[in-house]
Symmetry: C2
């Protein structure tokens, strides 16, 4: 993509309304734009990140055997009356009357709707287990939306729902999702600690929240230092059983008296909630009569769980966990482009030629490149490129070009090396790149 | 995918509420499920089709230089007051009050929102042209939703918007989209005729609707027989200039007295509207002050166009254009799976072994296979497979297996051939398949 034609409006000024780094950086990097209170438009650069996250979330759901559906955003109030939650939900639920004065709502979550789908079609234990997921926009009418998309009103969530014939099956479904979540967050390049949690309005007796560690996190979490191995991201070696049994708790649930971890192994940090998994048994299946016939022909209400990941919130959480004073530092798996190619002297035949050669060669290898071909001062281009945080920068036209060398900089480490054009192409070709992303 | 674990609830009975083939077939093939009046949940099988269509639409938008954004579903009424459309829109607009009693709405279209995004960031003619698109859910509160997703209330639409400095640029943007639409519909396996149209509530003086030809179409269209070349789908040879100048008109616009086509070359057919392209100049940019500075430093309101494709409606339109008495006949580009593999004698070691061998081999080649491993009567399995309409059927366990042969049937032509396992694998491997789809 050539920046000169790309709709990527970066801002030099720090927006006064933004109080946390991710909000400031998403506005400055032209990722989002406020539409109305707590509601945003995703601009092309931000949307690429959102979609990269979606893809990883989807792949790990499919790997765990979940099947994708898509429920509507607008629901009938009737189903929520069946479960008894219509009144419970209060003002965070966006309530709507259609032209026939029927009571509708914009779904803040979908337990009722999916339970209704399930009960219509699944009648026997032989069709269990089932796990259905979707990635769909939700709405919660926050009284004071703030922190950009971190606490917005319209947000993108992956939610899924498991259906089992008995508790044992339900625990197994829960365990599968626990593993899928660890894999998902590790692939996204963040450390997410699974802490014991209250189950809140959804109800149930087993529930964990996943908190991305970041200094600006909203809540304090305590966890066994052994969780730090999640930083390594070598998924093959993740010891799920070990991780499952490690201690982690949100501040409200943490009691130093009964904590089983020795003080020297206990870590304390701030975290941002990005996922939540619940087992809640028959809370919905009983009132909504989602039953199947068991082996003995009896009708049995199904055992359910639900599992959420805040997909849009993750964009902000990743930035909170990975930025510096100059801007964002994208983990390679979610970066909107792998490489930012800077032509420092647009119009100079040598730098133009070297830049175009690199751009063409990398495009041909399916490497995602943002080519800054704008006619701006070097300082602005460097600042913009650091701000938007692509993993690699290729700088054409600096001092090194006189030696037929091009500078390659790693955004995360700041390390630079001078390479020939061919060495640059080799560095970023298929051996090290998969699906256009650096690995 | 193994059908025994797949959430694909087919129905034998014809649903009484469904009046047109696509509605009946989508319900019977387990693609969608009614959630509330005019609002549907997409089940896994239906969602795969929707996503395949989305992918083709997206690829052709990108090829034409459009850049993807994502606007929220919920908008503030204020912007619609600026353009003057808030009152015009009437009861089809779903109007909402949030907890602070602010007037909001669920977007039925997005001219106002995108014009607002544009005017905030684009200030000079140097940044033009721009073309921004999204694929997002919309809501129109139809008084009588019917025909399933064909005239539903919540629907998925690709909408995009072009911004140019002058009329000439705007016409050029319009022409690019005209071509992108022809390519899109051809790739989707349907014939879509671009007919002259009224521009309706959006306004403007150049506009065409694309109608998919289908006997059950809602409107009558007249067109030059030369459009029939669109059936060939050989995109490289599409003569866009020629097609642009051919005659086509909706019934209201067609006047036999002035029609330039000789009667023997004029065709009449029924069509379903699936796309609409508009040039409307400064209708929004003037009242909303979306101006840029021109070469001479003067402020100029941008020339705009908007372009829609009914993505969810296309699922139904494709079925209307391509089905028979037994069920759906998917064009290969949008088929949810390329192949349906039927094991006629589940539990029989020979057929189980042959089926599993084929399933594994085809999966390894990234061919999308739905493997019917359910323990049902042959008649039910044949009927279900015809109903769901996958392009190819592989039948294991019929008479031919005694001769070490397997039957391969083409759903569209009904032609059958008996092949050895290796011949079947060869038939569907990479040479003929691209990205898991038959080509």
């Amino acid at each position: 993509m050539r920046w000169s034609t790309y709709f990527l409006p970066t801002l030099k000024e720090v927006p006064v309304e933004a109080q946390i780094p991710s909000h400031r950086l998403m506005l400055r990097a032209g990722m989002i734009c406020l539409s109305s209170s707590g509601i945003y438009t995703w601009l092309p650069f931000g949307l690429r990140v959102l979609k990269n996250i979606e893809t990883i979330v989807r792949e790990e759901q499919e790997r765990a055997g979940a099947q994708e559906v898509l429920m509507p955003t607008i629901q009938s109030a009737d189903l929520w009356r069946e479960s008894g939650r219509y009144d419970d939900y209060g003002k965070e639920m966006l309530r709507i009357r259609d032209r026939h004065e029927r009571e509708m709502l914009y779904g803040p979550t979908n337990e009722e709707l999916i339970t209704d789908v399930f009960r219509r079609f699944v009648k026997t234990y032989r069709d269990l287990p089932k796990n259905l997921y979707q990635i769909q926009w939700k709405f919660r009418d926050e009284i004071r939306p703030r922190f950009g998309i971190m606490r917005g009103r319209e947000f993108l969530m992956k939610d899924n729902y498991s259906f089992d014939i008995d508790k044992e099956g339900a625990y197994n479904s829960y365990r599968k999702m626990f593993e899928a979540y660890l894999r998902t967050f590790a692939r996204l390049g963040v450390v997410a600690i699974p802490v014991k949690a209250d189950s809140g309005a959804i109800g149930g007796d087993m529930s964990q929240e996943f908190h991305v560690l970041a200094e600006t996190g909203e809540s304090k979490v305590f966890y066994d230092v052994a969780f730090e191995e999640l930083r390594h991201k070598d998924l093959a070696s993740l010891d799920i059983e070990k991780l499952r049994n490690l201690y982690a708790a949100a501040e409200e649930k943490h009691d130093p008296q009964t904590c089983p971890v020795a003080p020297e192994n206990l870590k304390e940090a701030r975290g941002i909630e990005v996922g939540h998994i619940f087992y809640f048994g028959t809370k919905y299946s009983e009132p909504m009569k989602a039953t199947v016939t068991g082996e003995d022909g009896q009708l049995i209400p199904v055992e359910m769980g639900s599992y959420g990941i805040g997909v849009s919130r993750l964009v902000a959480a990743i930035i909170e966990a990975s930025h510096d004073a100059a801007g964002i530092i994208w983990p390679e798996s979610v970066a909107p482009f792998c490489i930012g190619l800077i032509n420092l002297k647009v119009g100079n035949p040598d730098t133009d030629k070297a830049s175009e050669t690199l751009y063409d060669a990398l495009q041909k290898e399916n490497v995602e490149v943002l080519y800054d071909d704008r006619d701006l001062r070097a300082g602005s281009k460097f600042a913009d490129m650091d701000l938007i945080g692509l993993p690699w920068q290729i700088v054409v036209g600096g001092r090194s070009l006189s030696m037929n060398k091009i500078e390659v900089k790693c955004r995360k480490t700041g390390l630079r090396e001078d390479l020939s054009i061919n060495e640059v192409i080799k560095k970023f070709t298929k051996s090290t790149i998969s699906d256009g992303k650096c690995v």
